[in-house]
């Protein structure tokens, strides 16, 4: 009896070891889930794809901006966090938040 139990346990252990050995991917997945417990289970799903489709979107509404300026007369305008990814939602984007478009373009260094 006890002999059987031991056998099953070893089998389970070796299966676990096998899993890690056979699938480094699963080990990496476990690492990721440990770091980000709120990560959804649909990695290729619509969230990721929609973020991809929205590349280039900037949010700046001059109406919002001027209204906010008018309301918060003397106080500072709330500005974006330093690592801004998408400027939307909680704070009022300012023209300074939006990355500057490059000025006139120079020749490529490949041609130099």
């Amino acid at each position: 009896m006890s002999g059987d139990n031991e056998d099953t346990q070893t089998a389970d252990d070796s299966q676990e070891v096998q899993d890690k050995v056979i699938s480094p991917e699963k080990a990496e997945e476990a690492k990721l889930k440990a770091r980000y417990p709120n990560l959804g289970n649909k990695p290729g799903g619509s969230d990721l794809l929609r973020k991809r489709l929205q590349k280039g979107q900037k949010y700046f509404d001059s109406g919002d901006y001027n209204m906010a300026k008018a309301k918060i007369k003397n106080k500072q305008l709330p500005t974006a966090a330093p690592e801004k990814t998408e400027i939307t939602g909680d704070h009022i984007p300012t023209p300074q938040d939006l990355p500057q478009r490059k000025p006139s373009l120079v020749a490529s260094k490949l041609a130099g």
Binding site: E25, A27, E28, E29, G44, G56
Partner: protein
Amino acid sequence: MAGAGGGNCDVQWCFSQVKGSIDDDVAEADIISTVEFNHSGELLATGDKGGRVVIFQQEPESKNQPQCRGEYNVYSTFQSHEPEFDYLKSLEIEEKINKIRWLPQKNAAQFLLSTNDKTIKLWKISERDKRPEGYNLKEEDGRYRDLNTVTTLRVPVFRPMDLMVEASPRRVFANAHTYHINSTSVNSDCETYLSADDLRINLWHLEITDRSFNIVDIKPANMEELTEVITAAEFHPNQCNTFVYSSSKGTIRMCDMRASALCDKHAKMFEEPEDPNNRSFFSEIISSISDVKFSHSGRYMMTRDYLSVKIWDLNMETRPVETYQVHEYLRSKLCSLYENDCIFDKFECCWNGNDSVVMTGSYNNFFRMFDRGYRQDVTLEASRENSKPRSVLKPRKVSTGGKRKKDEISVDSLDFNKKILHTAWHPLDNIIAVATTNNLYIFEEKLN
């Protein structure tokens, strides 16, 4: 050795040229975004993030050194696209050149299609080496002559002048894509071409800019149901009715334009069955196909996903006929590659002239070649350290185990900021163009 472009097992690659600045501080505009030889291999075009195109021309072989293939020197450079802002959608449109495709040459001028995220442009590159002289009413500098001084009549003649290469935009194909264009492909009929964005593929006629036909539309009625996007598309090299498009889910669909006007129903679907036991969070992301290329013969196609290159026989949809691991050692690094976004890098791939060898890039400025016939592969590096003229490139090796041999580099020492995403192979000879972040390397076969 067999003729040009033969099997790779005895080819030694050596450094030929490098273009671009040595500066470590790379301006974003200088990041190379596409590389493409023309159909003869005489011209080599690059596009960058700053919207500029640089075209290099191969010098004719000199009689003094018949074994040295000509160098590539700057032929023409121009600003193809400018940054734009779509005020209606609050969308910034990058000027980055996503793809350049050459048209087959029909007359003295050269034509190429260059595209950014939203607009495709047809550029004409032409040479001028003569100019008219001896006008009766104008001076040579263009000023009008005082008619009182004109006493005789002469016939203006063409006189040789220093070669001038002019690039002019002949067509602008705009406003046909809601999403970001990832591919263009010229049809073998030389009259039409396709452009593909994340969700749609359009068919254009090269002469007509105010109209294009939508031939594939995978946009779901409800965007919440979006499960895959189009990642690349290409026309078959000689069947003008056939094209393929790849998806972020690792499938390739082949469509026949004779079947119907809208090719939403594929004629063939190429997909390798997945082992459900091996499925992980990363499976779908790393199966996303970043590039698809038909072989020159038109019999095979090659796809590039994050870790491998696969060759498919067009007659077999169930699985690829060949699979090559590009950097399998990254499988145990997927967590950090996801965190630093490298897992989303889009590597391209290319065939050599006779379809016997395929090439693709990797990290640390490494690139890989796979010889299909001899079943051999090699890892080479594009770096300034190996840039002595005609110095032979030494194969590189990444060590995966604990023990690292002398010349090997360990996985943890790889520089993931040094990515080779774009490579091109001369259509006839063993000459390759490899783009690092902001430099273009040209390597060629060592000839004795």
